[in-house]
């Protein structure tokens, strides 16, 4: 037996210190991980352990100018089952089957499916959800959710739009004011084990959602309802393809009503009025949702004479008393352009020419302006640009290029043909010309309403540019008053009010099909316009003159809404033209 020697001891000590050094090295390494990498790894670990469930924010409502709720939220429930937590599957199946009115087979399939969470039914009314919750069944989860609800159904459908599956705005105001309406979703952070089971004793972290802001719009439900009623009536009576009515405040561009029949049910926006093949369904839906006031252009026809008159008066190429002679046609270069009245209007002043809606008068005036001047005014009045209305998908103007415009093109443009604008563009431009000459931006959005104290934070109003002198605007109003009072627009007269306006009747392209668009644009009071309305009837049958079918619609509208808007009666033409003092 050998005795251990000195060098053995020395080496054992070496081994010990070597091992100790390595141990301490690892202790340092562990410390480095636990102190300097702690944030990194514990953050990653937390991401791993926490499951994020988002809580939908309540979407802001849309309110009319008087606070009537146009778009609201309904609480609905989503019923789900968590397979691993279900203790009594048969009872769960029985209860869900009865409460939800589903077949046993459907419920059984959901309950018996091995998954972390299985949705049985969504959009369940709150009462049903509460009833199911009251059973206290293990593994059955009732989550509350919001669903958009439109109390007025199809009212202003093309203005309001609707929301998609995730409550996001899809069309119209719901889409353009998304950032205000949507709010900020909250989150529930649950701690789970590796299989996704929630660890109940750890509780959950909640980040509360922030509800969306209520949007206040300038629309007045009463006016909208009445306008819609009138539009439907005239559409039915004239068997027209569609009818649009726009009511706005010429002073600031606030839109009080915008109708484009046929409207659709906002609470059921995916159902078409008639069956169509699946392939064409999306196109048919898009057509149904389309707002012709904004998304479509048309030839404005004689209503555009307002613009020609404004430009000519402003440029000084015509005065009210200038006389013209209408033989029923006019020759422009080598082209013969007819007047609406085949026999001709004979000798007439400019005012009378406007009252008669005489094409030769306006062609003459247009030619006096010349292409360059006319084009300059066209641009100055804002007709080349979009109006900037706060609805998505506004169509642009379709106009000749200046270099392509000859006298013939100028002549046709002068009385509203051979180019296209949207109805909102016509209304906005007319409003700007008669309001004293300031270009307005048509809009619905007024501001957002604070849910707690009901105060409204208004959206900033864009300052409009001057596009016409105040004096010319005043002269234009006087001429347009004469049109209604004594001229072609007399069906637009309203007892006790001074109304200005212009009729329009245009044959749609291609010509010769016998299809017309009839329109009337009116405003009141003539001297200090508080409200402007445009009615467009597309493809009416029978009588198609704007002065005969569209003007009465605006008359009826004004008869109701002028008193409603507290606009004082200012009498008729018996009173002096400038009798009404401007406020």
């Amino acid at each position: 037996m050998e005795k251990s020697r000195t060098y053995h001891r020395k080496k054992i000590v070496i081994v010990f210190f070597l091992c100790t050094a390595l141990f301490l090295g690892l202790a340092v390494r562990t410390g480095w991980l636990m102190i300097f990498c702690s944030e990194h790894y514990s953050g990653l670990a937390q991401d791993l352990h926490q499951r994020e469930r988002s809580i939908k924010a309540r979407r802001g409502r849309i309110l009319d100018v008087n606070g009537a709720v146009l778009a609201d939220n309904r609480t609905v429930c989503t019923i789900s089952v968590i397979h691993s937590q279900v203790k009594d599957p048969e009872r769960v199946i029985a209860v869900l089957q009865e409460e939800l009115g589903l077949s046993e087979e459907t419920v059984r399939k959901r309950v018996e499916k091995v998954s972390s969470i299985e949705r049985v039914k969504s959009n369940v009314p709150k009462e049903t959800g509460d009833a199911i919750r009251a059973y206290g069944l293990d593994g059955v989860k009732v989550d509350e959710d919001y669903k958009r609800y439109y109390p007025y159904g199809k009212l202003a459908s093309k203005v309001l739009g609707f929301t998609g599956a995730d409550n996001q705005g899809i069309l119209a105001l719901e889409s353009s004011y998304e950032e205000y309406l949507q709010g900020t979703p909250g989150t529930i952070l649950e701690t789970t084990d590796a299989r996704g089971l929630q660890i109940s004793e750890m509780g959950e972290e909640r980040i509360e959602p922030i509800a969306g802001q209520d949007l206040v719009i300038s629309m007045d439900v009463n006016i909208q309802q009445y306008a819609e009623q009138l539009a439907e009536q005239v559409q039915k009576a004239k068997e027209a393809q569609s009818v649009s009515i726009l009511v706005m405040r010429p002073g600031n561009g606030e839109i009080l009503a915008m109708v484009d029949t046929p409207e659709y049910d906002l609470n059921d926006p995916f159902t078409l009025p008639e069956e169509v093949p699946e392939k064409e369904k999306q196109d048919a839906l898009n057509r149904m949702w389309r707002n012709a006031c904004i998304n479509d252009t048309y030839e404005p026809g004689s209503a555009f004479k307002i613009v020609t008159a404004a430009a000519a008066l402003e440029e000084g190429v015509v005065t009210e008393e200038d006389t013209f002679s209408c033989p029923g046609f006019i020759m422009v270069d080598d082209r013969r352009i007819r007047c609406a009245k085949v026999g001709g209007h004979g000798t007439e002043t400019f005012v009378q020419g406007t009252m008669n809606s005489c094409n030769p008068v306006f062609i003459t005036v247009g030619l006096r302006l010349g292409v360059e001047n006319y084009y300059r005014y066209f641009e100055q009045f804002g007709l080349k640009k979009k109006t900037g209305v706060d609805l998505p998908g506004e169509a642009g103007t379709i106009m000749h290029k200046m270099e392509d415009m000859g006298n013939v093109e100028l002549a046709t443009v002068s009385f509203g043909q051979s180019f296209q604008i949207t109805p909102i563009q016509l209304a906005a431009t007319a409003a700007s010309l008669i309001n004293g000459g300031i270009r307005i931006t048509p809009h619905f959005g007024v501001g957002t309403k604070n849910g707690e104290d009901g105060t409204v934070s208004p959206f900033p109003l864009k300052a409009g540019e001057r596009i016409l002198s105040e004096r010319t605007s005043e002269r234009l109003r006087a001429i347009l008053f004469e049109v209604v009072e004594n001229g072609g627009g007399k069906n637009g007269r309203v007892e006790g009010y001074r109304v200005g306006g212009k009729t329009a009747t245009s044959e749609t392209l291609p010509r010769g099909t016998g299809k017309y668009i009839s329109a009337f644009l009116g405003f009141a009071p003539a001297e200090d316009p508080k409200v402007l309305a445009l009615c467009i009837i597309r493809h009416p049958t029978g009588v198609y003159y704007g002065g005969q079918i569209a003007a009465p619609v605006i008359r009826q509208l004004f008869e109701n809404i002028l008193p409603y808007l507290d606009i004082e009666k200012t009498g008729t033409a018996d009173q002096p033209e400038n009798g009404a003092e401007r406020e």
């Binding site: 020697r5 001891r9 081994v15 010990f16 091992c19 562990t30 299989r195």
Partner: protein
């Protein structure tokens, strides 16, 4: 030394290392607590008994403590004549894994079912310590010769190769090789060749790692290269080879200075594989924090310090070599385990002595402790 002859007769003069006993008992009990903490959630779910792992480990530990006490009473020279037998039995047991007696668990065939299930590799470690201690004593002064060197490393190499190839357990093969190397280092007066071997080994390892780090992981990358790539950047292979280590790092990083408190680990809830086994150190870090982790490392330093004291005072070379072998066994295993868990070296399955779950492991470790205590008893107080 004149007193050697009558060292067993004068009992009252004999030494008993109470510090060693206390450290061992502390480690065993601490291990049981940590196993229970780490495994209860999984055990409740999978075994329907949250104390499943605790009971099994507790049973093995109880048998082990009895065995340790018994072995500590038996003079360690009693085992000298069985040294060659132990070596041969180790080899036979390893080979038995290939027979129907062997069985597979966790994708590796490492266990034998003979009444209870045992891991032959764990027995081989003890066998190797006894065999080499006896062999080196027999060689005596001839230890300096190349022949002795190759005889010792060769006989250890056979077992290493068998453990590696037959039971597909590279980690145990490395440990057995390491034990043999350390025992030979202590027994031999030479330094140069050991330094050279270690230097060459480190250089070779660095070279291999460099080569692998230059390639990228593809479908046909073999699994050891893949492990090395995952080691270099575990987050890039988070769902594959890097998964276990990264989950361990999550646990370690979550611990902070004082930990989440005993029982509050999140990573043990099914996220971290082998949480009561090879990765238990990361649960200790998560629950007990840096203080807990350093305390565990300090306990192991105390343990090997006791081994050093006993080895240096052992009555003879055989006793000293046994203690050196045990010291090497525990030190290598602790170092490799913590190094793996902290992603200091590439992942390889090594358990943490006394703490990780594993019945054979704790049983044979405690028997080794019994041997060390038996050597300690041989120390005469006068010499100590």
């Amino acid at each position: 030394m004149a007193g050697v002859r009558n060292r067993f007769r004068k009992k009252e003069e004999h030494y008993f290392d109470y510090s060693l006993l206390f450290i061992i008992l502390f480690l065993v009990v601490f291990g049981l607590i940590m196993i229970y903490s780490a495994s209860a959630y999984d055990a409740a779910d999978q075994m329907d008994n949250e104390a499943y792992y605790l009971i099994h480990q507790g049973g093995a530990a109880a048998i082990g403590i009895v065995a340790m006490i018994v072995v500590s009473w038996i003079p360690y020279h009693f085992w000298e004549k069985f040294a060659t037998l132990a070596y041969l039995v180790s080899i036979v047991l390893i080979l038995l894994v290939l027979t129907p007696l062997g069985y597979e668990a966790n994708g590796a065939r490492r266990w034998l079912k003979i009444g209870i299930s045992v891991q032959p590799a764990e027995i081989a470690k003890l066998g190797m310590i006894l065999f080499l201690a006896a062999l080196i004593c027999k060689i005596g002064r001839g230890i300096k010769t190349a022949k002795a060197f190759f005889l010792i490393m060769g006989s250890a190499g056979v077992v290493c190769l068998l453990v590696w190839q037959v039971t597909d357990n590279l980690s145990s093969a490395i440990i057995i090789g390491g034990i043999a190397f350390l025992m030979l280092f202590v027994a031999s007066p030479d330094y140069k060749k050991f330094v050279l071997i270690v230097g060459a080994g480190l250089a070779a390892a660095a070279g291999v790692v460099y080569l692998i780090s230059q390639s990228s992981m593809t479908e046909d990358t073999d699994f050891r290269s893949a492990r090395i790539m995952a080691w270099l950047d575990p987050e890039a292979y988070a769902s594959g080879k890097g998964f276990q280590v990264l989950q361990g790092l999550y646990a370690i990083g979550s611990g902070g200075l004082f930990g989440k408190g005993l029982g509050n680990s999140m990573q043990k809830l099914g996220f971290l594989p082998e949480q009561q086994n090879d990765m238990i150190f990361s649960i200790i870090c998560e629950e007990l924090g840096l203080f807990g982790a350093i305390a565990v490392i300090m306990i192991f330093i105390l343990l090997i310090w006791r081994f050093m004291v006993i080895a240096n005072n052992a009555p003879d070379l055989f006793g000293a070599l046994i203690v050196v072998g045990v010291m090497g066994h525990i030190a290598i295993q602790v170092i490799l385990n913590i190094a793996v868990v902290t992603n200091t070296i590439p992942n390889t399955g090594i358990s943490l002595p006394f703490i990780s779950y594993g019945g054979t492991s704790v049983l044979f470790l405690l028997i080794e402790m019994g041997l060390v205590m038996s050597v300690a008893r041989g120390i005469r107080l006068k010499d100590a």
